[in-house]
C-alpha cells in the first residue's frame, strides 16, 4: 500500500482538469477514470466568477485536490502561489512546478529544490515535478519531499516514457519513496509501462482531455494502469536476446 503523505489513493491515477471540451465531459471523464486525485490551478478570476462553478464541480467529484504552481519561473513566484493555493483549496498538498525552459517546460531543478525546502519547512506536502536525475531526487528528498514526480516526456507532448532506463534506475534507487510519472503520457500503453516499471502512480491530463473521446480514453487509462500494476506485482520475466522454446522438446514425435 503506497501512502502519499499519509494518504492512500483509491487508484494510482492522478488526472488533470484542464483542456476538456466542456465541464460535463470533464466530470464524465473523471468518473470513468476512477482517479482519486484532481490537479487544479489558480488563475485570475474573470468576470462571471467561473472559478467558483469549477470549484463546486471538483467538490462534487469527491477527490483529493492537488493544486499546482504551473507557469511559475522563480522560487518567489512558486512559493507565493503555493501559499495562495493553500488559502483557497484548504490543502497542504502542492504540485510544485518550477519551469526552466520555455519550449520543453523542463523543470528548473535548482530552484525546485530551494522552493521545496522552503515549502516543506512551512508545512506543505510537496509533490515536485522533476526530471529523472537521481541526484536531484536525492536533493528533493533531503529538502523534505516524500514523493518524487519525474517527467516521462515534456508536458503535453504525448511521447510516453522518453527514458525508461533512467526511470527504472530511479525506482531501484528509491525503493521506498512513492514515485509518480508526471507528464508526457500520450497512450494507455505509456501509462501501463510506467506501472510495469514499478511506479506508484501516473499523473496525466492532455492525453485524456484532448482525445477525440475523453471519456473513453479516461476509461482506457484506468484499465491500462490497473493492468500495469497487476503485471508489476506478478513479477514479470526478464527480457532475453535469444529464443527459448516454451513447448517441451522431450516427447516430440520423430517425423523426419
Amino acid at each position: 500500500m503506497t501512502l502519499f503523505y499519509g494518504t492512500e489513493l483509491p487508484n494510482p491515477l492522478m488526472l488533470g482538469t484542464a483542456q476538456y471540451p466542456s465541464p460535463a465531459i470533464l466530470e464524465q471523464a473523471f468518473r470513468a477514470s476512477g482517479a482519486g486525485v484532481a490537479t487544479v490551478s489558480l488563475r485570475r478570476e474573470g468576470a462571471g466568477g467561473g472559478g467558483q462553478a469549477f470549484w463546486q464541480m471538483i467538490c462534487d467529484l469527491d477527490v483529493h485536490v492537488l493544486p499546482n504552481t504551473a507557469g511559475c519561473h522563480t522560487v518567489k513566484e512558486a512559493v507565493t502561489t503555493a501559499h495562495m493555493a493553500r488559502d483557497v483549496f484548504g490543502t497542504t498538498w502542492i504540485k510544485l512546478e518550477l519551469i526552466g525552459h520555455t519550449d520543453s517546460l523542463q523543470p528548473d531543478v535548482y530552484q525546485l529544490v530551494e522552493a521545496a525546502r522552503i515549502l516543506t519547512e512551512d508545512g506543505f506536502d510537496v509533490f515536485p515535478y522533476t526530471t529523472e536525475d537521481l541526484i536531484v531526487g536525492e536533493r528533493l528528498l533531503g529538502a523534505g519531499c516524500q514523493v518524487l514526480m519525474p517527467w516521462g516526456a515534456p508536458i503535453g507532448s504525448g511521447r510516453g516514457l522518453n527514458n525508461p532506463y533512467a526511470l527504472r534506475a530511479m525506482r531501484a534507487e528509491f525503493p521506498d519513496v512513492p514515485l509518480v510519472v508526471d507528464a508526457g503520457i500520450g497512450l494507455p500503453s505509456h501509462a501501463a509501462q510506467a506501472m510495469e516499471l514499478g511506479f506508484d502512480a501516473v499523473l496525466l491530463n492532455t492525453a485524456v482531455a484532448r482525445a477525440g473521446d475523453p471519456v473513453a480514453m479516461a476509461q482506457a487509462m484506468k484499465l491500462a494502469i490497473e493492468a500495469g500494476k497487476l503485471a508489476c506485482d506478478a513479477d514479470p520475466i526478464e527480457a532475453r536476446d535469444m529464443a527459448e522454446a516454451s513447448t517441451p522438446v522431450i516427447g516430440k514425435a520423430f517425423l523426419s
Binding site: 472559478g51 499546482n68 518567489k76
Partner: protein
C-alpha cells in the same frame, strides 16, 4: 485611489483589501496578493490598500 487589479488600472474607494473584494463584487473562494506578497484571507480586514498597489485576486481554475 488608483490601483492595478489583476493587471487593469482601476479607481477604487475601498480602504482595506476586504473592502476591495466587496467593492469589486468578488465572492467565493479566492486568494489575494498585494505587490507580489501573499495576503491570507484572515488578514484582509486589516490590510490597508494604498495608491499604486498592484493587487492580484485568483480563483480555482482548471490545471494539469
Amino acid at each position: 485611489m488608483k490601483i492595478v487589479l489583476n493587471g487593469d488600472t482601476r479607481n477604487v474607494s475601498a480602504a482595506t483589501l476586504a473592502d476591495l473584494l466587496v467593492e469589486c463584487g468578488v465572492t467565493g473562494r479566492v486568494a489575494t496578493a498585494v505587490n507580489e506578497d501573499f495576503v491570507p484571507a484572515a488578514l484582509r480586514e486589516d490590510h490597508k490598500i494604498k495608491d499604486g498597489d498592484r493587487i492580484e485576486i485568483v480563483a480555482p481554475m482548471q490545471g494539469g
